[in-house]
Symmetry: C2
Subunit: 202 residues, 2 copies
DNA sequence: CTAAAAAATGAACCATGATTCACTTCTTAA
DNA sequence: TTAAGAAGTGAATCATGGTTCATTTTTTAG
């Protein structure tokens, strides 16, 4: 008879994977993707560097996974608000406002997800998610054009411009490092107003 | 009597410095700041790596110099168009249109200057120049508010949003890799229209 | 308890690329 | 023409950080 050990159950394996992802996300929250190092991730997870390679084929895969997970959460929130009942204008207003407020609240993460320099591996993934954001906005814009609330316009270009405008104003290098709730509410309102004017002006 | 050689004339020194800067700029045009390597810059300039350190204290200084020079050229063009005679609307239209067209034409450089990931050394410089762009736009917006062509709005936030909108739409990852002149003209028109609507809608 | 397989370890290795510096070559005033 | 200093050289060094793998530890079926 041959003695053998069974592999860890999938859940056990996932547990360790999750631990590594969680540590990685923390590091991103603290200092962006540039703050991720195999050594740091391993230390935070109380694990040796070699162990990481049992769960991820490379640092890139780890980063991509962190990116994907975090972005999907944000994306699903955007999707949800976009599809609520109400006029396109109202929905756009709410979607952008909440999008902006979340970005302000989690400025570091928002910057890492939307704008931070990452190596080309992530660029592809980021591109994919930007398209996804833009698609949501674009659909909403088209609805607004249908109802006559928004003027005729190429919806995808406007959607892209909106993403750029919000990103730049909120998390770009020009934005204030911190602002109190009142300030940030005003900032959000101003930038969302800007976007809505662009959408609806005749 | 002590024999001595005189240092190279300033112009001679500048000549070599310029050669290095020119090679560096070429490399940026070809593949962004990430494409700059001391070795490559030296090779292009037909010079040894050590020689570079006679003219620049570090790679960062070289990059910063390239960045600064290229940006100042663009900035002066923006400034010039901003200050032409005409209504604020017309001037804004022309400024943004030309800004966008130059960005499309020199996409790689534009990307490198506006958006490309660079190390923190350059971030400070980039911030400075973004402020400079935004200030030009902001002043023009305020003029427009005075004349009543533009609605009441926080001019600096709008200016920032405009920069973001154009950057994202033109050189962000969503933009088409290349487009023929007709396409790019339409793209420019669409995005500039977006910005002008945001500025002037009541 | 035992042995075989799985899992974990972390020091060594490797790749990249900036920076240095002992040495060679060039320039110029005398 | 010459010697002192300037300029140039590029191989060696350093720094960072990802990846590997021979070895040790843990787990589990029997």
């Amino acid at each position: 008879m041959v003695y053998r050990a069974t592999p860890l159950t999938e859940s056990k394996k996932m547990e360790c994977r999750e631990k590594l992802l969680a540590s990685g996300l923390k590091l991103v929250l603290e200092g962006g993707f540039g703050n991720i190092t195999i050594i740091k991730v391993a230390q935070r997870s109380q694990v040796a560097t070699g162990t990481m390679y049992r769960y991820f084929s490379s640092k890139g895969e780890l980063c991509e996974d962190i990116f994907r997970t975090a972005t999907e959460i944000e994306l699903s929130k955007v999707a949800k608000t976009c599809q609520q009942p109400g006029t396109p204008t109202d929905r756009m207003n709410q979607t952008l406002t909440e999008f902006a407020q979340r970005a302000i609240k989690g400025r570091r993460l928002a910057y890492a997800l939307i704008a931070e320099p990452v190596d080309s591996m992530l660029d592809e993934t980021r591109l994919q998610f930007r398209r996804a954001y833009a698609n949501h906005f674009s659909r909403l814009i088209e609805e607004g054009i249908q109802t006559g609330e928004f003027c005729e316009q190429p919806s995808m270009i406007s959607a892209t411009a909106i993403i750029g405008a919000i990103s730049e104003a909120l998390i770009g290098p020009l934005s204030p490092e911190n602002c109190d709730p009142i300030e940030s509410q005003k900032l959000t309102h101003d930038i969302v107003s800007f976007c809505l004017r662009a959408l609806s002006a005749k």
